[in-house]
């Protein structure tokens, strides 16, 4: 049981590419404080970066003045991360990239962010907001790597 369980940190970023790295640093700091292993922290950082980039691009349409909010909540043995934007959200499941189709040009080269998020964390859920006061968000849960503690 983590001594910080129940604690929450929130970080707000402008919708500008590059700032996802600030969210990565915050998330990494939080996970380090909880005692996550170095390799789980790498997984978390990539998932948080991809979620922030999607929130900036698809959610906030790259309008730098609309912030992306990242809420990090410490649970007993896991960290929950909500990445929120002002867009209308996602309801289709994360596409699994097909490298053969990408190589043949049948599928775009890009489009791997949601897949990577899902593959790297323990839970990933996309929730659409109503748009006006309810934000859309992706909720990630990453558990501590028991083996490497």
């Amino acid at each position: 049981m983590n001594v910080h369980s129940g604690s929450k940190v929130e970080v707000q970023l402008p919708s500008r590419l590059g700032f996802e790295k600030v969210a990565m640093s915050t998330a990494a700091g939080m996970a380090k404080l909880m005692g996550f292993s170095a390799d789980r922290i790498e997984d978390l950082k990539t998932a948080v970066a991809e979620a922030c980039i999607n929130a900036m691009e698809h959610g906030n349409q790259m309008n730098a003045s609309i912030p992306v909010s990242v809420v990090l909540s410490m649970k007993a043995d896991e960290l929950e991360v909500k990445v929120m934007d002002n867009g209308s959200g996602m309801d289709t499941p994360a596409p699994t990239p097909d490298i053969d189709r990408k190589m043949s040009g049948e599928e775009e080269a890009r489009g791997m962010g949601m897949f990577l998020i899902q593959a790297l964390v323990d839970e990933a859920e996309w929730v659409s907001g109503t748009g006006t006061d309810e934000q859309s968000f992706v909720r990630l849960v990453i558990r501590m790597n028991k083996e490497s503690e």
Binding site: A49, P97, D98, D100, G105
Partner: protein, 119 residues
């Protein structure tokens, strides 16, 4: 916006004697790296650069948009009969490249030395 990548190129010789064009990247590999990744590749003569090694050792940050640019290079290289190998990825990004299936089209090596002994 991200800072532009520094890219350097060098000619190496593999253990089997083949000529390898090595491209070293540094900085962030993201959507802002189109020139660095795709541009540098496209500027190479396709006939005299048959074997290309992409070295990511100096790279601190890589995201899915950056990986998409690598896939674009793999695609063009495959069409023109060039082989691509990749080295210098951290264990984390070795895992990520494997997850998206890149290993089906490019061999991954820990570093340049390991690439040269294998090629």
């Amino acid at each position: 916006m991200q800072t532009p990548n520094k890219v350097s190129q060098l000619q190496l010789t593999g253990a089997s004697g083949q000529q390898i064009t090595c491209i070293r990247f540094d900085g962030d590999i993201s959507s802002a790296s189109k020139d660095a990744i795709v541009g540098t590749y496209q500027a190479l003569d396709k006939d005299s650069n048959k074997h290309i090694l992409l070295d990511f050792k100096g790279v601190e940050y890589l995201n899915s948009s950056g990986i998409a640019l690598v896939i674009q290079v793999l695609m063009e290289a495959s069409k023109s009969g060039q082989t691509i190998a990749i080295c210098g990825l951290t264990p984390h990004f070795t895992k990520v490249f494997t997850m998206v299936g890149i290993t089906k089209y490019a061999a991954l090596y820990p570093d340049e030395a390991a690439s040269l002994s294998a090629l």
